[in-house]
């Protein structure tokens, strides 16, 4: 057996080149699994860490960007306002891969507005919601994704219906919507790779149990419930651009391919039911059914690889804007003389 430590990826980096600082989150926290899968996805895809920028809001989830990609730029912003921060920064160098990490409090409450407007603009970035139905950092209050009837210590019983983040994304015309479960790391990783290849806002709503405040086995955001009720839409495999694969081994109708903007592909293998993630109506239907039947539907719920992104409307220069030499930033003297003349 080879020593994994010495293994390198396509650009000669080891896994530890993608690691961050030691996590200070609770042992067993779903967020740590997700951080690990971000590391693995970026490593396996061979993305240079300096070509990735990390953003987050406030909360346990938003602390996690320090725990992965220690050699990438990062900015831990304000509660619910990671989208605007990431959007402004993204314009400085549109060749960067942007990863945003948020939580259910950060996205579904204070940040709902920015979340929906980010989606509407379709800024190319991966938007991860580490969704555990509870406020962890402030010690166990209900979040807006907590299910009706959830009983929490000190909080009583939640009387309200939850906000479904994937549904919000869909009706907000998101170009990429996925749901996953921290208890299924392989699926998380494949979805992350697809999201990193998508040219638009890729929403990943990942159920990520909070072992300290909301992991009772009969509750919707717990490990046990997730394992018992997970209903994957398909087996998902990400295929990078340069790999050609032979699809003959699958029978017709068993797989669905989606070519992403950069030429890479996701292969979705049919499970019990055929599912077409390019059909928005079907996507809404499956989420509705899942809610009625207590399924934790996971997988690539919806994707439109060709929806125009924010950059497509901006007619931007090719080079990174933050490297434009100063001489190109100030119009010539004659132009001001002309303006003065016109205003005289």
């Amino acid at each position: 057996m080879s020593d994994k430590k010495d293994e390198t990826n396509a650009i000669g980096l080891t896994r530890s080149d993608y690691r961050g600082e030691r996590s200070t989150l609770c042992p067993g926290c779903g967020h740590n699994t997700i951080s690990a899968q971000i590391i693995m996805a970026c490593y396996e895809m061979g993305i240079p860490p300096e070509k990735i920028a990390k953003f987050s809001g406030i909360g346990c989830s938003s602390k996690s960007p320090t725990y992965f990609l220690g050699q990438s730029f990062g900015f831990n912003g304000l509660h619910g306002r990671m989208p605007s921060l990431a959007l402004g920064a993204a314009f400085a160098d549109t060749s960067m891969k942007i990863i945003g990490v948020s939580g259910d409090g950060d996205t579904a409450s204070i940040g709902l507005g920015q979340f929906k407007h980010l989606i509407r603009r379709n800024l190319p970035m991966v938007y991860i919601i580490e969704n555990n139905g509870v406020y962890g950092l402030t010690k166990g209050q209900f979040s807006a994704t907590a299910e009706k009837g959830l009983e929490l210590k000190h909080q009583g019983v939640n009387p309200f219906l939850p906000i479904d983040i994937a549904k919000e994304a869909l009706v907000g015309n998101a170009s990429f919507v996925a749901r996953s479960f921290a208890g299924d790391p392989k699926q998380v990783r494949e979805l992350l790779k697809a999201a990193l290849s998508h040219r638009g806002t890729a929403v990943l709503d990942i159920i990520s149990p909070c072992v300290s405040f909301n992991d009772r086995e009969d509750t919707l955001h717990s490990y046990k419930w997730g394992r018992q009720h997970q209903a994957p839409l398909h087996d998902i495999a990400y295929v990078p651009t340069r790999k050609s694969i032979i699809l003959d081994e699958f029978k017709e109708g068993e797989i669905k391919e989606v070519i992403l903007h950069d030429g890479s592909m996701v292969i979705l293998k049919k499970l019990e039911q055929a599912y077409d993630p390019t059909d928005k109506w079907q996507a809404l239907q499956i989420l509705e059914e899942a809610e009625k039947n207590n399924w934790l539907v996971t997988g690539l719920i919806y994707v439109d690889p060709n929806q125009p992104s924010l950059y497509d409307y901006m007619n931007l220069v090719e080079e990174p804007m933050n490297r434009i030499p100063v001489k190109d930033l100030r119009p010539q003297r004659e132009t001001l003389e002309k303006i003065n003349q016109d205003m005289a």
Binding site: T66, G70, F73, F75, S95, M314, R333
Partner: protein, 613 residues
């Protein structure tokens, strides 16, 4: 007693003929399209070489409520507001009676003869104008009739005051640049109306205009346009904004001008981005992100937007992110008077944010200065790695002013302490984002996309050490915050210095800021004429430079004049110079209208009279 003195000594002495010196107010309803007509009159006077200013007093409404446009012509060059009218042009029956009360003795009213209301003053001269008949006579299409009625008063007023029709035609052409046929059809009505006035009205009033030497060094525009152009020449690269009166036209001017001025000449691609955000919370978040990543970033808003931006501004201060934020002030608190002017956001902005936050503020007083501060602010923001707030106001931002031509920036763009790959390679010590290498409190920064191994760092609003690492260490917290304070304090002498207008023998100081300058200069001259000699200092930046202290020290009595209830500039001066509070007296008020020289004179008079008792 004071009132008597006002009448005798302070109000302008009326003579038989009053040339190039009057205030004319056009009263219409908003949405009637009078802006073109008013601006035509304004520009015609300007083209005649007569110093002139225009103020639009408008409601928070789109159609149907009263609106007033005051044009002040002043051979002496005074551009501030006056509270009375010499000439009223009345198109609105709804305000007819009340508006007449503002007319001076011997003043004039031109009114549409469809207004069938009695004129209950026998000390003014009234000229009816058959606006509806003339428009019908000219065969104006029905859908344009209301709009064209405004051109009737342009023609009548031009004829009666002696504004040559050539000036009117030029002014129309400059407004309808490429639409010559529209300019022509408007001018036809003007001509018709002027001809009617010539044949039917007998001149009984004293107001006349005459050409003066051309105002060659001057242009006419508004502060928001100037601020936008300033940003464009300052190399702005990212602007995020959310619509709000009276700031919207700043970002909108950028949308107009930036694509013309800031395309790569070869590729025709934009080297900037402008995003209309979903709210001010997002607008400032975007600006912080862009500023952090190395773009010259900005936003523009007004008071309510500033309130929403407080949290990110606090973070930008502590995380040391450069950006430029315009506050075009309107009247608060609350929604307040959204279409009226004020200087009420000074303390809000100075301390904007939670914890110990204190921002650098620039305060332009003229349209020209909006341009200048517009570009300078980016250099300052990047030099000091902190937000720079520019405090404008509705009067300055939205009204048309004659102003000095824009000067091309006299110094190259300075991007502050930024390290790219090569710079990091050669950096003498181990680089840390918040490490004060030079002892000036200003650290070096790297920008997202820098591929050097040592370049990436993690930015956070939480406690951090010199290398950007999370820290709750008491010593580190104190050290970092003290360094930031030192950095901000050190900006004082780099910021625009106060401007002092000194008069020989003055022992009283007048202190003000921003757009009230014009009223202050007029008041200073007129006070001097009646024996109250003052020096006038206009503060242009906070934190205050040493000149501010020296000015206060040099005057036993300093009056601080401003457009807000609580005297916020006075509050800050008292806070900074607590050993000289006895030399500082607040004279402030807020009613939504620009400050007048008359108010200043009265206020200073009252204080001086009391102190002499």
């Amino acid at each position: 007693m004071i009132k008597e003195m006002d009448k005798e000594d302070l109000l302008e002495r009326r003579q038989e003929v009053q040339v190039n010196d009057f205030c004319m107010t056009v009263c219409t309803v908003n949405g009637s399209g009078s802006a073109t007509a008013n601006n035509t009159l304004l520009r015609a006077l300007f083209h005649m070489g007569i110093p002139v200013s225009g103020k639009n007093i408008f409601p928070s409404n789109i159609k149907g409520l009263p609106t007033w446009f005051s044009i002040r012509a002043s051979k002496d060059g005074y551009l501030g507001r006056v509270a009375h009218d010499d000439i009223i042009v009345q198109m609105n029956p709804g305000t007819f009676v009340k508006d007449l009360t503002y007319d001076v003795q011997g003043g004039v009213v031109f009114y549409g003869d469809h207004i069938k209301l009695p004129i209950d003053r026998d000390d003014i001269i009234a000229y009816p104008m058959p606006v509806k008949d003339l428009v019908k006579q000219a065969g104006v299409p029905r859908n344009l009739q209301d709009y064209m009625e405004n051109m009737v008063y342009v023609g009548v007023v031009a004829q009666m005051l002696g504004i040559g029709l050539g000036y009117i035609e030029d002014a129309l052409c400059s407004q309808f640049r490429k639409k010559t046929s529209v300019a022509e059809s408007n001018f036809a009505i003007v001509q018709l109306a002027a001809e009617w006035a010539q044949n039917n009205l007998e001149k009984k009033d004293r107001y006349w205009v005459e050409p003066m030497p051309p105002l060659e060094d001057y242009i006419m525009t508004d502060g928001n346009t100037a601020g936008a152009l300033g940003a464009i020449y300052g190399g702005f690269q990212f602007c995020a904004w959310y619509p709000i009166t009276p700031a919207s036209s700043l970002a909108e001017s950028m949308v107009t001008f930036a694509p013309r001025l800031r395309k790569n000449p070869d590729t025709k691609k934009n080297n900037f981005a402008i995003v209309q955000a979903e709210d001010e919370l997002a607008a400032i978040g975007m600006a912080v992100g862009a500023g952090w990543a190395g773009l010259r970033a900005m936003s523009s808003t007004s008071g309510p937007g500033i309130s929403l931006m407080a949290e990110y501004m606090s973070m930008a201060y502590y995380a040391e992110v450069p950006l430029v934020l315009w506050d075009v002030q309107r009247v608060g608190p609350s929604t307040g008077l959204p279409t009226r002017t004020a200087q009420g956001d000074l303390t809000l902005n100075y301390f904007l944010g939670h914890g110990d936050t204190q921002h650098i503020i620039l305060i332009p007083s003229s349209v020209n200065e909006c341009f200048e501060f517009g570009w300078k602010a980016f250099d300052l923001a990047e030099k000091f790695q902190t937000p720079i707030i520019i405090l404008s106001d509705l009067d300055l931002g939205m009204n048309l002013w004659m102003t000095k031509k824009f000067d091309y920036p006299d110094q190259p763009i300075q991007r502050g302490k930024v390290l790219w790959e090569k710079d990091l390679e050669e950096f003498p010590v181990e680089w840390g984002r918040y490490l004060d290498v030079d002892g000036d409190g200003i650290p070096y920064r790297t920008l997202m996309g820098n591929t050097h191994k040592k370049a990436p760092y993690f930015t956070r609003g939480t406690g951090h050490d010199e290398f950007g690492n999370y820290s709750e260490d008491p010593d580190i917290w104190q050290r970092m915050l003290d360094r930031i304070k030192m950095k901000i304090e050190s900006s004082k002498e780099t910021l625009p210095k106060p401007v002092v207008r000194a008069l020989p023998g003055a022992n009283i100081g007048l202190i003000a800021m921003g757009s009230t300058e014009h009223a202050l200069i007029e008041a200073q001259d007129k006070l001097n004429a009646v024996g109250i000699t003052t020096d006038f200092m206009r503060v242009r930046a906070l934190p205050f430079s040493s000149e501010v202290q020296k000015f206060i020290e040099a005057h036993q009595q300093n009056y601080v004049l401003e457009l807000n209830r609580d005297g916020q500039l006075h509050q800050l001066l008292v806070l900074h110079y607590c050993d000289m509070t006895d030399r500082l007296t607040s004279l402030s008020y807020i009613d939504g209208l620009p400050m007048t020289a008359e108010w200043i004179i009265k206020a200073v008079f009252a204080k001086e009279e009391n102190s002499n008792v």
